[in-house]
Symmetry: C2
């Protein structure tokens, strides 16, 4: 059996608080030729996602924790360069769950052959048309039960998920879509590229005040990517029968002590609010519905999907840390 | 026009924090004879309820605030002693919204004629078979979507609403029902009279630990009457797809500063939790369903409804303050 030399990023140590480059190690490995029913893949793009921070802690969660001195994993796209499968061929573009490495051998049932036609960059298959896009679609339409004519507030509004929430809300007939992001550039991007009716930089004041100014008539739906002050502000601005999709709390992923919850949660009684958490992997059956709509929007030029692309496997830890700092606009991906 | 001498309790001043007897004033008033379509009622029982505390603040809420120097109001039962109505007769037992007084003249469309047959005390019509009972029924079955075989946790477990939640959960097939209350006597009442599988005195330790010991396999539903530490503990103990009915936050009604929210709310994402606030007045259409079930349970001796009865209108402020302190077991009512 021959092998080829590949590279992978391992978890060198568990971060305490914010991750640092020292928590990661780039290692050279020998990758075998594909056995029966297997394919050898050269990865072209890999995803870095906020949920990966949780997996770096040694606590039970909805996905098992990463192991120290083992390779990290996550969503990736690659090209099949050798195949022992009768289903997947050399040259196919495939999606799979073995990112954080450049070469990988996998059973063909672990890969999905992708159709990259009509997408501006293959990386879009990891972002706007991938898991983040589905997260936005399910959270807005199924979890928050958004209806046309309603007002929507999105935090992390320029990120992989948030940018899709804002756009889907507008395309599905929202009366007003308001976004929060962490820089003037992102605010500009939200309003001028993504079509938000208003957006603000949450570093410019109290989120409660900024939101009230941006949505003076209140909101019906809050799509929560961050938790913390944003959730509190949303509870103040939500109208009667308002809904919150709890998608993530990036504010808290690096916290080393408990973070206070919204001090105004008791308002949920009188306002008849619903707050609902969800995980996109429970809703994969909605992918065909989502893609049917999203591919039309994309074809018709109605969907902006600008990714932040970092170059090279060695830079993947940096890309991940940058993601947690909010350095991305749109989906953060690493080009391998 | 002749009149008769009656008495009413007015809001003398708005409480700051805990209410005191000085916030109330007992006043003598002249009550006119009933005009056309009106009835004169001698009230027999009046309700004191936690939500009334919110109405003593001058802030917009789901019911308008009480006015200083005006009579308070709330649910009451009375006997018609004079009638100018062709629908309501002298001798009828009626329910209406004008408590905190002994005599009242009302248009007949503002009163509901009640059937007190088969109930151990007319006060039950204000409690187990009244608004608190419906609150329990709707919150457990509609808001928290309780299913037979699930485990339920209730705070304020011996109170007007909580005692009904616990009993309805058992009668509807809960696998395990756990309650929290504020004294050893109430814990005993929960287990030995109401049929809870387990109950604890929340003053005996950390609610998180007490709940874990009482429901070691976790809970599916939390019925929240108190907020604060109880909600935090419930979020820790809730299983995947768990639901919380947010009914009230008595912990916070007398707070003079914001109360921190649950520091673990971010767990709602991975656990796929739903937290939903509601107000019973939105759900009055469920009253016939509730009464159809509850009257059968009562007839068959399956429903305990022990009220705490305080004697005399002058004691109503004391009864209300005692309610906020948790001095009641079951519904707190004032006998007039």
């Amino acid at each position: 059996m021959t092998t080829q030399t590949g590279h992978e990023i391992r978890l060198a140590s568990r971060p305490h608080g914010w991750p640092t480059p020292e928590n990661f190690a780039l290692v050279t490995v020998e990758v075998p030729d594909p056995g029966p029913g297997q394919v050898l893949i050269r990865n072209t793009y890999m995803s870095v996602d906020p949920y990966m921070r949780g997996r770096m802690n040694d606590v039970p969660s909805y996905v098992p924790p990463f192991q120290v001195d083992k390779a990290l994993d996550g969503g990736a796209l690659g090209e099949v360069i050798a195949s022992n499968s009768d289903r997947v061929r050399v040259g196919d573009t495939v999606m799979h769950g073995y990112g954080w490495r450049d070469l990988v051998v996998l059973d063909d049932k672990r890969v999905r052959v992708m159709d990259a036609r009509g997408v501006p960059s293959p990386s879009v298959l990891l972002g706007a048309l991938g898991m983040p896009g589905l997260t936005a679609y399910v959270g807005l339409l199924d979890i928050a039960a958004f209806q046309p004519g309603e007002a929507v507030f999105v935090s992390g509004a320029a990120g992989a998920v948030g940018s899709m929430v804002g756009q889907i809300a507008k395309l599905r007939g929202a009366a007003r879509v308001v976004g929060s992001a962490g820089s003037a550039e992102k605010v500009d991007y939200c309003v001028n590229k993504l079509g938000y009716d208003a957006a603000f930089n949450y570093r410019d004041g109290r989120v409660k005040d900024l939101l009230r100014d941006a949505a003076p008539d209140g909101i019906d739906v809050y799509f929560d990517n961050v938790g913390g002050d944003h959730l509190t502000a949303a509870i103040f601005s939500l109208k009667r029968n308002g809904r919150v999709a709890l998608c993530g709390a990036i504010d808290q992923y690096n916290a080393t002590a408990p973070v206070a919850g919204p001090p105004n949660l008791a308002l949920a009684v009188g306002k008849r609010l619903t707050l609902r958490g969800y995980i996109v992997s429970d809703h994969e059956s909605r992918m065909p519905d989502f893609l049917a709509e999203a591919r039309v929007w994309l074809r018709d030029g109605k969907l902006a999907c600008d990714d932040t692309i970092v170059d090279g496997l060695a830079k993947a830890p940096e890309a991940f840390i940058g993601l947690l700092r909010g350095e991305n606009t749109g989906k953060m991906v690493v080009k391998l």
